[in-house]
Symmetry: C2
Subunit: 547 residues, 2 copies
Amino acid sequence: MMGVQLTLDKILERAVDLFPERELVTKLPDGSTHRYTYGDAYERICQLAHALDEMGLEEGARVGVVATNHYRHFELYFGPACSARSIHMCNMRLPDHHFVHTIEDAEDEVIFVDPALVEKVEANADELETVKQYVILCEEDELPETDLEPVVAYESLLAGHPTEYEWPDIDEDREYGMCHTSGTTGLPKGVPYTHRAMYLHSIMCGHVDANQVSEGDVALPVVPMFHANGWGIPYAATFAGAKQVFPSVHTDPESLAHLIDDEEVTVSAAVPTIWLEMANYLDENPDVDISNIDRLTVGGSAPPESLIRKYDEEYDAPIIQGWGMTETSPLGTLSTLRTEVEALSPEEQYEYRTMAGFPVPGMQVRIIDDDGEEVPRDGETMGELEVRSPWVTDHYHNRPEENEQAFTDDGYLRTGDIAVRDELGYVDVVDRDKDVIKSGGEWISSVQLENDLIAHEDVAEATVVGVEHERWQERPLAIVVPTADADLVADDLADHLGETFPDWWLPDAYEFIDEIPKTSTGKFDKKRLRDRFDIVLEATDEEEAEL
Amino acid sequence: MMGVQLTLDKILERAVDLFPERELVTKLPDGSTHRYTYGDAYERICQLAHALDEMGLEEGARVGVVATNHYRHFELYFGPACSARSIHMCNMRLPDHHFVHTIEDAEDEVIFVDPALVEKVEANADELETVKQYVILCEEDELPETDLEPVVAYESLLAGHPTEYEWPDIDEDREYGMCHTSGTTGLPKGVPYTHRAMYLHSIMCGHVDANQVSEGDVALPVVPMFHANGWGIPYAATFAGAKQVFPSVHTDPESLAHLIDDEEVTVSAAVPTIWLEMANYLDENPDVDISNIDRLTVGGSAPPESLIRKYDEEYDAPIIQGWGMTETSPLGTLSTLRTEVEALSPEEQYEYRTMAGFPVPGMQVRIIDDDGEEVPRDGETMGELEVRSPWVTDHYHNRPEENEQAFTDDGYLRTGDIAVRDELGYVDVVDRDKDVIKSGGEWISSVQLENDLIAHEDVAEATVVGVEHERWQERPLAIVVPTADADLVADDLADHLGETFPDWWLPDAYEFIDEIPKTSTGKFDKKRLRDRFDIVLEATDEEEAEL
């Protein structure tokens, strides 16, 4: 058959060929609205490609983008990629030394940056030795004062270039972009994405058993476009020819609710917090109408069941959880309901809707125990989640050591997530590999214990870590912040947990403290807790006898 | 990213991994029903692969299949392909010399044949020099008497082999199958299909803007599995994990209606005649319920608008037309309704629903005039339809001469179909290249004139061919069979056509005959008509003056 390469120019050209009048709408930082069409965007993407040529950027050169979600960022999703360069999607929320590392690691030659984010780049510019040009994403007369140099306004860069471009023949295995992992366990790691991967990811996102991204949709990616391709939405929506809406800085619940209402958004994606806050806003502002919403994708962390119920009951807007990683482009599983689950009672369906979900078409998934065997599909036995797909990375950039660890001999990515799987094929992620408590031959989910502890009325915060044990290798230690004035003792919590979990899951010890330390991204800092509570639990007399 | 090859074993293994209990149902020739699951089928496909090994079939060897649609044919869709051989889907309806040509051309080493079709093979066996083994698709005790040799029953061939198989690593560009075109203009031409093409075609068939083949569907391919991969349905349905229903010989309206009713079929595909006949059957048998049908795909020829209306109004079963060819795997366009069309009145929508349709995701389409330019998207200007996609062939097997003609320098297939396109991107096929009448610089659709002639109450049959003209190169000649006792003259028909078409479209001459000659497939034999009416129309005096 024809050797048509699966490249991003095909995605873009389909939108322009068949849907030239479809709109791309941006709520600009100043509160005004920018509207244009795929036809308009295409001309500017061509201009951008010419500008990159004029800069002398070679094939494969990376350009960093430090930006919120808006139409110029959309143009940068295609201009470098379709002209055989690569977009490096920079996470400006990283601490400075990580931020600098990502740009050094990617060897970005140009940095495109929002006016409001110039400071972040300026503060680190001395260290950015590969960068030859800064481009600020604004008009000439909007250029902020800056020490960056050389510097040019994006609109001046584009101005005067031809609005057509003859895209080069690109091999589908060429890199079109790179994201870095968030680096919770060390320096961020770069994931190079190929055209083929994102083409396949995009057509899969349109699958009726996956995200169903259709030409009739109006897509609002709230998830930042520097996070794993904005979860693939800008590419998938372009492939489908859907209208897209970008919020730029306006990701507060009020702005988002009005954007959904005004632009008749049908599909959106964000972390659960966004939808939680929006529900609160809508409670207080019943005149705002989000009834156009057809479905909402959440990821990053599991949405509480109460949130899913609320969106079902009050807005008829089903929340669909997705599981994925920077390494997986990102879509791996979705909590869509297969026929057998649709036949269950609503209560039983909610159990499935809070899971990581069902593997999307094209994604191979397995859960492997410590002996390298697949765990039984009983919904209980834990193992490490491993995945394989044309849109899963096969290496980290410049990380030979991690690359040795991260992949199996038969080509699966070890995700580091601990999961279970049921007989219908649904995956539920129960912990991170480094946090799961390996007690004897059995595994205990720290996350499940934490969730149950936090449900106790006298608990303000709680976390569970594994500590060394003479007999069982590891046992759970609960670290609890009681609510003010609470009169809480360990036995209360043991009784509480005992209602849900078997005896051998219950923590061997409880520590009461004033505050749980957090990481820079606001998660419990379990590493510091493990260091602080570096104890060895003794075996009981009975256990001693067995040793 | 991972170099996971897009191969058919992935499609099969996904179904077995996630949907092992889903059923594959066959209505057997004797009227009984065979039911088993993807899990069961997988074991037999593994046995089949072992049997092919035992026969000594090398990589790339082709096996011919001469069969109706049933579960053993389904097994043959995967066994040879996943073990790096190729299934040659043989069209037993071809005349003998074409049938023999296809098997010689494919160099089939084994022929798998239904008991009821053994005669067709026997009649030609002397000429099938590449065939080393015949396998009859039945149990040992069902073997018919036959002169074929060596011969074995399919069930005996499978028996005793292991029910697991380690599939080889297959390059996605390897051929998994071959179909031949129907050869209306010469010897059938072989189209070799690659794993990559059918993997992509299958995931596209699940796209929400294409066929939406879902895990929740029950798919009934009525279209023969030897016609362009059964229009891709058995592969797409397996990829999705859908239940499948195979009718074997029972493609009469009564059997199909009951099969749809009994097995709760949601999606089916066939030529328009099938649905026309079924509507007649359902009119007379209102107790048969086809309300499970969600949509019906038709192809091969355009469905009359009245048929689409009837299925909408009486069965709530929308008919969606598709355009494709053996060369295109086959799906190219579908008459799905994009948002702008959904906003139109029902009457206007019907105009779109009778068109060839909208390009599916991944299919590049253009319409080119005699000067090699794209025609305006005005819904009127005709040109040749050209297509490009990873699932469109880039060559015919063993046909260097046709390969020179059939493809453009920039990699499009010249389809030989004459089409128009409107501003929304919808394609309508108005004629075949060899039948369109090229009058001066303008083109006249023979098909549109025919359809209007046949709508005249005194016309039983009508066709239009181009004949040579001194001034205009070609002009239309209408050939008409009047109804019995009709008193029809040329002026009546000219007046009738004049209500719809401009003057320059009207035929220059009308011939009244008793019967229009047909080809072996029942189509008007325009070649014979052109030979019979081999006339040269003279220029009028006025035209003469211009010459």
